[in-house]
């Protein structure tokens, strides 16, 4: 699986420009599903049919945050805007690669004090060109952060764990899973980082009976970090809420019961910012009972996002168990 993860995270596909990653995922999931479709927005929908069964949509977004060129000056410096949540303090000195293969480094205008964190409009990409003609960058060209997969043993690091690790968990689960109580729609969604757009249309198209997103969540286990009771290595997290949704209590109950019965470690997640494809599914059509299985991840949206391999393994175990345990969807008074 580590090879699969390495391939997934080293494929550059920022939001709206998911062609490369879609091909990689399609190639890797083809043997394990009955049918593959691509919808109008570019979501990859992979179906495992089961007549008469509840239809579950499991969504892992395949896009990543990135940058887009807005201006190339006469000396070849490229100004840019973010695609998704790019933090200025992670950019300085960063390396990027445009989808046309051109690489560059991020430079910054001189700041008034060394403490100041400049905004993105004070930064530029230096592609090593002497002028605009040799820069080989056009306005609108898209770049991804450029870092190789880093294997730290038990823990793995990449610039695109969000959410290629969710993609990997979904592929790996379908590879291992022989049977399910559900008709499964494995959705690899586009444009999550710019407002859960892909999952919105995918959920409308699929019209599932229930929805589960696979995504990363933040952790509170780093020095003077955020106040959050999720740690790396303590198991996958079952989302209770984030700022985009209140996970359906029936889905939370189903996930917790299943994890406890199978003795899989899990954490109860409250994320006070951010959102996932789960929101899009919950709000779709006449409403969908929806939840999120999260993989704890340090430094989300930095070029070095870190996950724990055991959390990843346990996420696969839990997802497999969930797909063999039907939930109760009646409301409890």
């Amino acid at each position: 699986m580590k090879e699969l993860i390495k391939t997934l995270v080293e494929t550059n596909s920022p939001s709206g420009y998911e062609n490369s990653i879609r091909q990689v995922i399609r190639h890797n999931i083809e043997p394990y599903v009955d049918e593959i479709k691509v919808d109008a927005l570019g979501n990859l929908l992979c179906v495992r049919h089961k007549e008469g069964a509840l239809k579950i949509m499991i969504s892992a977004h395949m896009d990543e945050i990135g940058l887009m060129a807005t201006h190339v000056d006469q000396n070849g410096f490229v100004r840019f805007i973010p695609l998704g949540g790019v933090y200025p303090h992670h950019c300085i000195g960063g390396r990027v690669r445009f989808l046309n293969g051109v690489s560059g480094v991020i430079g910054v205008e001189r700041t008034t004090t060394p403490q100041e964190i400049p905004s993105l409009d004070k930064m530029f990409i230096d592609v090593g060109a002497a002028n605009a003609q040799t820069a080989q960058i056009k306005i609108g060209d898209v770049a991804a952060f450029d870092r190789p997969f880093l294997d730290l043993g038990k823990r793995w690091v990449s610039k695109a764990m969000d959410d290629r690790i969710g993609v990997a968990v979904l592929i790996e689960t379908l590879k291992q899973l022989q049977n399910s109580v559900f008709e499964i729609y494995a959705v690899f969604s586009v444009q999550e980082e710019v407002g859960v757009r892909g999952a919105t249309t995918a959920a409308f198209g699929v019209a599932p009976d229930l929805g589960l997103a696979l995504d990363v969540t933040a952790t509170g286990d780093t020095p003077k970090g955020i106040k959050m009771e999720v740690e790396l290595g303590k198991g996958p997290a079952i989302k209770i809420r984030d700022s985009g949704m209140l996970a359906d209590p029936r889905i939370i109950h189903w996930m917790i019961q299943t994890a406890e019965q199978a003795s899989i470690p899990y954490q109860r997640e409250i994320l006070e910012f951010g959102g996932t494809d789960g929101r899009a599914m919950q709000l779709s059509r006449s409403g969908v009972p929806a939840g999120v299985l999260s993989i704890p991840c340090r430094y989300v949206h930095a070029p070095s996002e870190m996950v724990d391999s055991e959390d990843v393994e346990n996420a696969i175990l839990l997802l497999s168990e969930l797909l063999n345990n039907p939930p109760k969807l009646e409301f409890l008074a």
């Binding site: 009771e229 209770i240 359906d248 209590p249 709000l283 059509r285 006449s286 409301f331």
Partner: protein
């Protein structure tokens, strides 16, 4: 309906916390209040309570949606440390009113607790003066840490524990009056219609999760696909020191919404009807969003002509919200009269070119 009857309905409606995302506890209350007077009751896929009063029209009956959200704000346990609780908010909470509040922690069982703040000299420097944020407040259940760990988990809900207070006039104070006051108005409306014969089908929906994502209104509107919608919610009432151009006098009027969220012809109908019935109202202007379910449901499917009717409320998003029963009656009566008088060909009158 008498003031005392509305008070008792409101008391019943506010006695169940039903925080956003966890509204199913209110289903039985609504079933008890509404279903004897309506023709069909269902629960949506995300938990909104949907009830239909059939119209008399024998032609295909157009459908009207009248909706008020049933969820309320509250807190959620976000961490447990040495037997004390940390909280996150459900919906927007005014943190100035939290220290000293009594709450109920809905753990394995309901546990009484207090929200407390440490003495100021023990707080981070930036919080020693002024308002302490939610992150620096604690919940104290008065239990040893091992008991707390046993009974309470991250994600457990926390609701305000304040009694329903009846002032010596027609005003009441309680948590969750945003938006149970509007549910009381819907109840009033449903009762008023018992002996009337409206032509249209009317769906009365108590929607979920307005305070977070407006999930209930969005999804029930998609399911029902009404031709018109009326959203009932609360708005800011005056209190000492509040500017009159930003608030509405409590007990003196209701507010009729006006702005891009509201369909001008519907607004005109409501305004004329209120004038005719001598129901006092003021205009509530929305520049972009109304801050109600109307913002979502207006945009569902092919688009829904929408009206917003609001009930003034003091101390919004606190544990001590105050409303006037008179305003609830006014809102309920106006909507009932609107429904009763809705002609079968009303939609043909909604023509953009002829509306100003």
């Amino acid at each position: 309906m008498k003031t005392s009857e509305i008070k008792s309905i409101l008391k019943e409606l506010t006695s169940t916390p039903a925080l956003s995302g966890h509204e199913s506890a209110l289903h039985s209350t609504l079933n008890h209040l509404w279903s004897p007077y309506l023709d069909e009751v269902s629960i949506s896929r995300v938990g909104s309570f949907q009830a239909l009063r059939r119209g008399t029209s024998t032609q295909p009956c157009p459908e009207l949606l009248v909706t008020a959200h049933m969820d309320s704000i509250g807190l959620m346990v976000s961490a447990i440390q040495d037997g004390f609780l940390r909280f996150t908010e459900i919906g927007g909470i005014d943190p100035r009113l939290l220290p000293g509040q009594m709450v109920t922690v809905h753990g394995k069982r309901d546990i009484p607790a207090l929200i407390v703040q440490p003495p100021s000299f023990l707080l981070p420097v930036e919080f020693q003066n002024g308002i302490v944020t939610l992150h620096s407040l604690w919940g104290d259940c008065g239990l040893p840490p091992e008991k707390v760990n046993q009974q309470v988990a991250i994600g457990d809900l926390v609701s305000f524990d304040q009694p329903f207070l009846e002032f010596e006039n027609d005003m009441v104070c309680s948590p969750s009056l945003d938006n149970r006051a509007s549910l009381a108005a819907l109840t009033y409306c449903i009762y008023e219609l018992v002996n009337r014969q409206p032509a249209w089908d009317s769906w009365f929906v108590a929607s979920v999760q307005e305070e977070e994502t407006q999930a209930g209104a969005l999804t029930s509107t998609f399911q029902i696909l009404p031709k018109l919608a009326i959203v009932v919610d609360v708005t800011f009432a005056n209190s000492p020191g509040t500017p009159s151009h930003k608030t509405f006098p409590l007990g003196d009027c209701i507010a009729l919404g006006w702005g891009p969220t509201v369909h001008p012809y519907l607004y005109k109908t409501f305004q004329e009807l209120a004038d005719q019935l001598e129901i006092p109202y003021k205009i509530e202007s929305f520049s972009r969003r109304s801050g109600t379910d109307a913002d979502s449901l207006q945009l569902v499917a092919h688009g829904i002509p929408t009206m917003v009717v609001s009930i003034p409320l003091r101390y919004m998003h606190s544990a001590v919200e105050v409303v006037s029963i008179k305003d609830i009656q006014r809102a309920g009566r106006l909507i009932a009269e609107f429904i009763a008088g809705l002609e079968i060909d009303y939609l043909e009158k909604i023509k953009w070119d002829e509306t100003n």
